[in-house]
Amino acid sequence: MIPETLLRVERLRKHYPVTKGILFTKSLGFVRAVDDISFTIAAGETLGLVGESGCGKTTTSKLILNLEEPTDGQVLLQGKPIHGLRGEALREYRALAQAVFQDPWSSLNPRMTVGRTIAESLIVTGWGSGEEIAERIRELLDQVGLRAEQAMQYPHEFSGGQRQRIALAAALASRPKLIVLDEPVSALDVSIRAQIMNLLKDIQARDNVAYLLVAHDLATVRHMTDQTAVMYLGRIVEYAPTKLLFGNVLHPYTKALFSAVLPPRPNRQEDEIVLAGDVPSPLNPPGGCRFHTRCPFAMARCAREEPQLHEVEPGHLVSCFLHEAA
């Protein structure tokens, strides 16, 4: 059975104009933060979006959360475009798509009790009576492993891990179908990360909620996701079911990312791929394949033409001339 598609991202672009001057602005070009990406997430499934800073993964999550308007392309949730919604339709969409962000110290309003934060999406939509909402807060706190009486406390009384639990409870309140998890564990201590990752998996197993997991840590992605998309400079360079991808890494950039994973066991550098230089500026990125300036396997053609994502084995998409379909 093919699971029903929950989220569809179609040829999404987000370009930020860069200008100089205040009164007489001069355009310096565009930061192509997200440049023509497409993917889908099925109900109850997790997609991992991997890449380094500046690759556009956070912009993508903001576009999906309707915090930014796309320059081009569209995002469909349950078949309906999410941008340009107003009034009741917008509220319905907001209830379906929620988020947990990276920094637990910035995610909670210091002036709002934990209970109010958790109930906010319910209060806004007029979900129920005061007593019903209080009951729901108790239920949510219990689900994320906190005590009911902690609803009256303020965020400063909680540790980083507990704050991420509160943020998760707030995201779950409206019974969403999709939660965007933007680096949800990377700011936490190692022993706390495992707790939150287990909690996320438990909730998914019970509620059948889909996750978009934005992360840089491949081991976390492997542990958490069904599908993986690797981004570089605003583009998806490799996209496949996680099992397939981790078993058969194809794109040179993905290979470099894998090579940079340092496993927690003694390892003397085997055949590491160490990339030279830094990620180029997404302001006017390199022509041709965007990775060719750092690619150890770059050919003359890579500087001229831009490779397109194409299927090299069932479900495994790569944009690289090294793996062109025969």
């Binding site: 509220r91 798509a97 962000f101 210091p110």
Partner: protein
């Protein structure tokens, strides 16, 4: 962590009761002149008498009574001007900071204009068109205040807007108005309180200058500011005329500041626990 600042609270309470119960408290009329008792020093200085505890001014008016009645005008002006000017500044700062873009540009150019416009000239124009009095004074001082409130609050909001909880509030479906009221406003109230306490001094001095220029409350109604300017020419031989209301202003501003510090710590849930 901080003890309740009893001394400032007592001082503020005394000043407020002075303002409220002025007719009952004052030993003399603040405006009746007794020329034969003019320029008497306070009781603890040679030549002073128990009759006029804080001395008299050049027209033989009792300084104590003028101080008590002056508290009325000064405190009412401060309260009204800070509420009006501060409130407008707070609102504009939050709106400009939160929406950004064109809204921010337009509002901030208005703020710039307010800063460059000579407030005193404006107050004088107001006095001419509306006549002297409390309303004129409050409007003039509010116009002087709002821009600095707006600018500082806006800066605070810009920083606050970057925090994830603001984006998450949008994700949870909060309208801009709701975000500004429940997420932004409570987090800038500290700054607002600090600005209010810092500006009480400014307001009282402004009231003094405007009253002196004839744009404020018309004499002989006493205000602290007017009292200071009355004694200006006699600072060498009758220092008490200016110095005593000066001390009152200093005490009030200092007390409000200390009280404001304590309030800010109380309001901040992070500090309350320590």
């Amino acid at each position: 962590m901080h003890r309740v600042p009893w001394i400032p609270i007592v001082i503020i309470a005394v000043m407020i009761s002075m303002a409220v119960f002025a007719p009952q408290l004052a030993p003399y009329s603040p405006i009746d002149q007794t020329l034969r008792d003019k320029l008497l020093p306070p009781v603890w200085v040679d030549g002073g008498s128990m009759k006029y505890i804080l001395g008299t001014d050049a027209f033989g008016r009792d300084i104590l009574s003028r101080l008590i009645f002056g508290a009325r005008v000064s405190l009412i002006v401060a309260l009204l001007a800070l509420t009006a000017g501060g409130g407008v500044g707070l609102t504009i700062g939050i709106v400009a900071g939160y929406f950004g873009g064109t809204v921010d540009n337009v509002l901030m150019r208005l703020v710039d204009a307010a800063f460059t416009f000579p407030a005193i000239l404006f107050a004088l124009l107001l006095a001419v068109t509306m006549g002297q009095g409390l309303t004129t004074l409050v409007i003039a001082i509010s116009l002087l205040l709002w821009a600095s409130f707006a600018r500082i609050i806006r800066g605070e909001v810009l920083a606050l807007k970057q925090r994830d909880f603001v984006a998450l509030a949008r994700v949870r479906g909060c309208s801009p108005a709701r975000i500004m009221l429940t997420h932004i406003l409570p987090n800038v109230l500290n700054t607002f309180m600090v600005l209010v306490t810092l500006n009480i001094g400014v307001v009282i001095i402004a009231e003094a200058s405007l009253s002196f220029l004839g744009a404020g409350v018309p004499p002989p109604t006493p205000t602290w500011g007017l009292m200071i300017s009355d004694g200006r020419g006699r600072i060498a031989d009758a220092w008490w005329i200016s110095v005593i209301p000066g001390i009152a202003i200093t005490l009030l501003v200092l007390s409000v500041n200390l009280f404001g510090d304590w309030m800010r710590d109380r309001l901040d849930p992070r500090l309350r626990q320590l």
